[in-house]
Structures are given as C-alpha cells and as structure tokens.
C-alpha cells in the first residue's frame, strides 16, 4: 500500500513564536523527500507535525485519503526512525521489532515470525535475543529501522537518523535506508542537516530556512540551478558577483563585470533576470589567470585543497574565492584576473544580494 503525503498551508507556533509559515509540501507515492536545513529552520517541526507530536495552528495534513490533522499520534500508522534510535532498553531486539505488531493485536506466533523475518532483512538475525545496550550504534539503527518497517507503514519518517554514527557507517546506512525504502515502495520523509546525505538518497530535496521551503527540487537541479541566493549559498555558490547587462546580440547577452571587463552569456543556457543581476559561482567556477577578460584582483591567502589551490581574492566586488590549478601556484600578493566559467555559474535577481 503506497499513498502520498500532503502538507497543505500549515502554520505552527511554539508558544507565541511562529516556527512554520504557510508551508505546503506534497510527497508522491513511493517518493523520498528530504527536508534540509540548519537547526531551527523548521524541518523537525514539520516532521513532528506529521507524526502528531505537535498540532498545527492552521492548515491540513493528509496521508492518502486520510486527514491526519487532528488524529491522535498513535492512530497515524507512521514508521518513525529517531536520531537517538529510541529503542526500548528493557526489551530484546526481537521484542523491540515486534512491539508495533503487538499493539496491532497480531498473535504471538505471527509476531515472532514477522519480527524474525524483518530482523533477518536488516542482517541482525544473530542478535535477536540481545538487549539494545549490547549493540553498536549501527546495529541499533538497524533495529530501529526494522521496528519501523515491520508494521508496513504507508509513510516512513526519519529524523536525522545517521547523525550519531561515524562517517563510514553513515554512508553504508544511508544506502541501506534507500534500498529498503525503494524495495517496499514506501513514501518517505527524511529530515537532515547534511547536504550530501540528503542529495545522495532523495528523489527531491526541500531546502528550508526560517520556517519556509526556499526551493523544492531534484538534487541535481538544486546543485546546479539554485533558484535564489539562500539556496545558492547553501549549495556552495560562495561567490556572488554583481553584473550589469549592457548589450544583446543574437544568441548571447553581454554583461559587464566589476572592473569593466565583459562576459558573454549564451541565451540557450541563461535567462538574464533583469538589467542588474547576480552571477553566482563556486570557487572552481572562477578561473585564475594572469590576464584576460575577467575581474582584476590581488591574490590573497593561498590554501591547498588537494585537487586545487584556493585563493582569497580582493576585488572590486568584495572578497571572492577562486580555485587555481596545482601546476601554477601564484604567489600571494600577485595581480591576476578571475574569469567566470559560464557553464559553472547561475544567474540570480539583483535584489537577492
């Protein structure tokens, strides 16, 4: 059974503080959507509203045909995986997994069979009689996953499930989560502050800030075509360069950079939003060259990144970051130009700066 989740114009308050503002989000059947943002952006609040631990002050939450908005949390039928795992310390792995089945009145024999089956699927069959205290972090999270999956919920939700694990295990576990979610075709809502984690396993990602969704798109789109300055900065477009469109030819727009040099922006790739606009790039999108059509700069501090050198560059547009090739290290203090590489840039409306 797969259903969609709809959050419709939801507003939420903590006391008198507004934490979510008219938020809407639709997750299609079998889709995994991540809420990504720093702490306090409202992502966990959203999850807790759907889980039923908080009540919205306005708006509706629907799971398939069911209206969840005022339904008690224990009737919502949602599989939840917590950051702290939240296993029952007084129960064995098997009884932890069987807990949800017991609440549903499944008979003891059937309970054991289905719990053991699920424990087997997460690869813990040797540990079924252990208590959570005797498991490693990764094993605990597998139990938590099995416990949430065994009730065959129409919706799975994850609240920063990997942040208590070490780096290598995080990568293994997120693959495992994605595999199980796709195998069951379960609709899923995933909350995290880790961009790589969100991008790697999600069908779509919602980047949140101050109780609003700033952009909801496929990871590939977010990564290369951020829609606004907040998202651009969030995904690593660290350089925001003010530009001015000065001429238009058949297939390109000619724009002036700080310092007076010009740059051709092909029309088939770029839509110039207004006469004054912002060109956003990552450090690798600015080529450091001795001379040419670019932004004049005095190179500052050089740092070694492994794949390149990075320079702090003092320019008419403020301090920019640019990566230079390993083959030609520039001395700090030397003069150079920064040439934007159009294919690694995106254009934003000017007021975003």
């Amino acid at each position: 059974m797969t259903v969609s989740l709809s959050i419709e114009n939801v507003t939420a308050h903590y006391g008198t503080t507004k934490v979510l503002e008219d938020l809407s989000l639709h997750i299609a059947e079998g889709e995994l959507v991540s809420l990504l943002g720093s702490s306090g952006c409202g992502k966990t609040t959203t999850l807790r509203l759907v889980a039923g631990f908080l009540e919205p002050t306005a708006g509706k939450i629907r799971l398939g045909e069911r209206d969840l908005t005022r339904l008690p949390a224990h009737n919502r039928d949602i599989g939840l995986v917590f950051q702290t795992y939240a296993l029952f310390p007084h129960l064995t792995v098997r009884d932890n997994v069987a807990f949800g089945l017991k609440q549903r009145g499944v008979s003891a024999g059937e309970r054991k069979r289905r719990a053991d089956d699920m424990i087997d699927r997460v690869g813990l069959n040797a540990l079924a009689d252990r208590y959570p205290a005797n498991l490693s972090g990764g094993q605990r999270q597998r139990v938590a996953l099995a416990r949430a999956l065994v009730i065959e919920p129409p919706l799975l939700m994850f609240d920063e499930p990997l942040s208590n694990l070490d780096a290598k295990l995080r990568v293994d576990m997120r693959v495992e989560i994605r595999r199980l979610q796709q195998a069951n075709g379960t609709t899923a809502l995933y909350v995290t502050h880790d961009q790589e984690e969100a991008f790697s396993i999600s069908d779509r990602v919602a980047i949140m800030n101050a109780g609003r969704i700033m952009q909801l798109d496929a990871p590939e789109v977010l990564y290369s075509r951020p829609a606004n300055a907040f998202v651009a900065d969030f995904v690593g477009f660290e350089n925001m360069i003010p530009m001015k469109a000065i001429a238009e030819s058949g297939d390109a727009v000619r724009a002036e950079m700080p310092g007076g040099a010009t740059l051709n922006l092909p029309k088939d790739t770029f839509t110039v939003p207004s006469q004054n606009f912002i060109l956003a790039t990552r450090p690798e999108g600015l080529l450091v060259a001795p001379s040419g059509d670019g932004i004049p700069t005095s190179l500052g501090l050089r740092t070694y990144l492994g794949r390149a050198y990075q320079y702090q560059c003092d320019t008419a547009a403020g301090e920019l970051k640019a990566n230079g090739p390993l083959a030609h290290p520039y001395e700090s203090g030397s003069n150079a130009v920064l040439i934007p590489q159009p294919e690694q840039c995106c254009l934003l409306p000017a007021e975003a700066a």
Partner: protein, 262 residues
C-alpha cells in the same frame, strides 16, 4: 604496583567508619546487658530484654501501625510523586524552575514546624481521624524523596522512546506503563526504600499527629523511655535495624542493589 595512601587519609577513613558503626555497636551491646538500665559496655549477657520487647503489646501494635503508615504513606506519595517527576522531566523547558523546589519544601521546613502545622490543620482544624492525618503527614514528609529519586532517573530517560512507542500504535497512557515505568523502575524502588525508612523512623511529625489509641513505634519507644530507662528500647532498636536490613536483603536478592547506584 602499590598504591600510595597517605596515613592521614587512612586515619580519616577509620574515624568516619567508627562514627557510622560505633552507635550501632553500642546499642547492640546495651540491648544484651543484664542490668535494669541502659549501659555500655554491657554487664552480663541476657536476651531477657528481647523477650520483654515481644511481651509488651504496645510495641507490637505500634509496629504494625508504623509498617502500615510506611507502606501506605510511601505508596500515596508515589502516586503524587511519580506523575509530578514525570511532568517536570518531560516538560523541563516549558515548566518554571521553582516547581521542582516546591516538592523539596517538606525537607527544608523544620520537621517540628511541619508537624505542628499539620496538627493545627488536619487533626484539630478539620478533625480528620488520627490514622488518616498520620497517613497524610507521612506521605508529605517522604514526598521529596519520591520526587527527587524518581526524577533523577527520569532526567536520564530519553523521551523519544515514549514517542517511538506512540508512533508504533501505543496510546500515551499505555506507553507510560509499558515503556516508561519499566525503564525507571530502579529509581522508583530506590525512592521507595528511602521513603519507607524515613517514614518508619519518623518522630517529629508523628508526635503531633498521634493521639489516643493510635501511635507509631518510634513514639511508643519515646514514651517507654520516659518511664523506664531499661534496655528494652535498645532491643527494639536492634529489631528495627533487623527489619531494615531484611528489607534491603530482600531487595538485593530479588533485584540486586546495584540499581541503587545506577
């Protein structure tokens, strides 16, 4: 490898031990003294005073009263204390901080004052039966232990465990009993023992609330001591220690005392 210990530390530790155990040895010694007055070291050796303790019916009667009060008072106090401790741990951020201190007041107020005010309000004020006012009084003086000790174990409880149970289809009231209570059992038992012993030994509150026909064992001991200064009270004290040790031993056997230090 030999650990180096300062001689002053050994002396300090020995002294501490002596002060803790010394009085118990004196009482045990006095209780077997073959004299008609309390004395230490004992002169002669007899179990007469133990026999005497069992023969005085007032001791037996008040012991039963004391046991009932200790069990009943502690149970009543737990019924108030556990939900209070739960609320304060669960809603730590939302609730004002002074609430926690209110539950410690019975310890902070001099017990004499507490006893006197309880007498004025419960016994002579609204004329409650003696047993009932004693029960309320005892529940009140042990409340701080219940709230504090249970609270300590709730403070280290991860409340997302409770939410996990709810998300799996368990109503909140049921999750309280099936998930929360089993995980703070240690704190509840520790609180129960502390409260039980405090109630069993209480004098200053009980003395105001006892009345005609109803008394507790410590009050009876006090009354006995005013009339007879014989070693019977020492023997009763030893028996009381025995009861406490027995309670601890049963708990140790059934649950293990390690939970007290957890």
């Amino acid at each position: 490898m030999q650990r180096k210990t300062h001689p002053l530390l050994i002396a300090f530790a020995a002294l501490t031990f002596f002060f803790l155990v010394g009085p118990l040895i004196i009482i045990i010694g006095a209780s077997v003294s073959d004299t008609s007055f309390l004395t230490f070291p004992p002169r002669g050796l007899t179990l007469h005073w133990y026999q005497n303790a069992f023969e005085i019916s007032a001791f037996k009667r008040t012991f039963v009263t004391s046991l009932m009060l200790a069990v009943g008072g502690t149970a009543l106090s737990m019924c108030i204390g556990i939900p209070a401790a739960y609320a304060m741990a669960r809603y730590r951020v939302e609730l004002p901080r002074f609430l926690g201190n209110i539950f410690v007041l019975p310890i902070l107020i001099p017990e004499i004052v507490l006893g006197f005010s309880l007498m004025k309000s419960l016994a002579t004020g609204i004329n409650l039966p003696i047993m009932l006012s004693l029960l309320i009084g005892h529940a009140l003086i042990v409340l701080p232990y219940c709230v504090r000790v249970v609270g300590a174990s709730l403070n280290s409880f991860d409340f997302s465990i409770e939410e996990a149970a709810v998300s799996l289809g368990c109503p909140r009231w049921k999750a309280f009993f099936t998930v929360l209570l089993p995980n703070v059992r240690a704190g509840i038992i520790a609180g129960f023992i502390l409260a039980f012993i405090t109630s069993l030994n209480d004098v200053s509150v009980s003395i105001f609330l006892t009345g005609p026909g109803v008394s507790t064992l410590p009050i009876q001991l006090l009354a006995h001591m005013e009339q007879f200064f014989d070693p019977t009270i020492a023997s009763v004290s030893v028996l009381l220690m025995g009861v406490t040790v027995a309670v601890m031993a049963i708990v140790e056997r059934t649950l293990g005392l390690t939970f007290l230090t957890k």
